[in-house]
Amino acid sequence: MTPVPALDTQPMVALPSFPVRLRLESVHVDFPAANGPMRVVDGIDLDIRQGEFVSIIGPSGCGKTTLLNIVAGFVKPSSGRALLDDAPIEGPGPDRGVIFQEYGVFPWLTVRGNIEFGLRLAAARVSGAQRTEIVDRYMALMGLADFADHHPKHLSGGMRQRLALARAYAVKPEFLLMDEPFGALDAQTRTAMQDLLLQVLATEGKTVMLITHSVDEAIYLSSRIVVVTARPARVRTIIDVPFGYPRDEAVHEDPRFALLRAHIRTLVMKEYEAQARQAAATE
């Protein structure tokens, strides 16, 4: 493995004094399969501190989404612990907003209806006026104001993804768990959404876990990158991103960006190769 030359490994956002909010402790996950339980996550230890932006990157089908599902509360570890502020994660909640790969926008509600859905719940405790203000703000932020009274069937895939984002942002969760949220977008919109995310984080301060296939995206957005192995998922390596916040496009020009990209690409490619060998071996 080629050593990465002279990277500043001081995380710019989450200083060691920031408390650990999320902790995965020796987490193993087995899923039932045709011929016995299939190990999907194999002993993952991961601490995420307040304010960090952690990207998880690895080959397709390696178990990244399962990791996100554990933190979201949809899956319980088969062994090991998943802790939020030292308490085991029991289930989903509005403190951990999730952006699903399949968007899940509510088809029976308009754009406005979707975004205000979380704000109309008992858990939200916002007044009608506040609600309108919040909805208008995020609708404008996502560029959906012109479609306020349209149903999702009239929206393109990219617009539905933006709607899902607005809906999640509106309830101001402390944590954002994003499963390839920008995958369906064209390059232009993708960049715009990435910048918007950074903007929202700058004003609202969240802790983010992002699953992505794009090394560029991971480096651009994150403070730390976790490279995960082919199934069963283990931590291959954790890389600190040397850039501070707020970030802008200029970061792409920084020579360290290219170095990081090359390094991480190599690691991920090795995992894809391992996965291919695995597949060949089982045939």
Partner: protein
């Protein structure tokens, strides 16, 4: 909304005259076929009353008993379908949603669903007598089982992602039911009503075998004993037209209520 290439599959006439022509076309074709069958002699012409003869009979009956017959039958269908769907929605929901309930009730439902209402008439007479209750019971029976099947399938195919999303936004169980499940169930409830209505009209004649004096089914039964084919035709056509009118009204209501659905047609 007519999308792209699918527009080719759904001819839409521009001007009102063409639109009316398109709507009338199938009926005119049927009428032509009717005359043709008579003229061809494929079936003995005395066994196939002419359309104009049926029409004249319709006029005669309309001045006599037809209005009452239509009212009685329509009311029976209405009540039977209303009660049947009212019971089918919660039962169908429970079966579709709770695995335990599904395992327990599903085989029973399928057993009773297969029984033809006509076969049950003797039992219905024994338990309900020969009054309105008996006739309504048959229609309730037919509507209920038709509705339950639609509800079970509909609820079963609600995608879990909407429930997951609503949980991550902070919804509790009651909110998930009222704000997510119910809106998603509405299209299926409407389909259940449509199917139940169709089944009920089809079962009407059987239900009116239970000593009905008035009703379209009674009209048909009566006429068949005296081999009055033209009256039989009037009765059948009335049933068909009323059922069609109800279905069209329901479809229009559905389009309004479920405008958000992304559909081919």
């Amino acid at each position: 909304m007519v999308h792209g290439t699918f527009a080719l599959l759904k001819p839409q006439a521009r001007n009102p005259a063409a639109r009316i022509a398109l709507l009338a076309a199938p009926w005119l074709a049927l009428l032509a076929l009717w005359y043709a069958v008579r003229a061809s002699g494929l079936i003995n012409p005395s066994l196939v009353p002419a359309p104009h003869a049926v029409f004249l009979k319709f006029i005669a009956l309309a001045q006599d008993r037809l209005a009452l017959d239509i009212w009685m039958s329509t009311r029976r269908v209405f009540v039977g379908v209303f009660l049947g769907v009212l019971a089918a929605v919660p039962v169908g929901f429970a079966i579709g949603w709770y695995r335990g309930v599904h395992s327990f009730l599903d085989p029973l439902i399928n057993f009773f669903r297969a029984l033809p209402p006509i076969a049950l008439i003797p039992l219905v007479i024994v338990y309900f007598g020969i009054g309105e209750a008996a006739k309504t019971a048959i229609l309730f029976y037919a509507s209920f089982f038709a509705g339950v099947i639609v509800m079970v399938e509909g609820i079963g195919q609600i995608s879990p992602i909407y429930v997951q999303v609503s949980r991550t936004l902070g919804a509790n169980d009651a909110e998930i039911f009222a704000k997510v499940i119910v809106p998603l169930a509405v299209p299926h409830i409407l389909t259940a009503v449509r199917v139940a209505l169709g089944v009920a009209w089809a079962t009407l004649v059987a239900s009116e075998l239970i000593a009905a004096q008035q009703g379209l089914g009674a009209l048909i039964q009566n006429a068949s004993s005296f081999f009055q084919l033209d009256i039989i035709y009037v009765g059948i056509i009335c049933i068909g037209l009323i059922a069609l009118a109800m279905d069209l009204a329901l479809r229009a209501a559905t389009r309004r209520l479920v405008a958000w659905q992304d559909r081919i047609a």
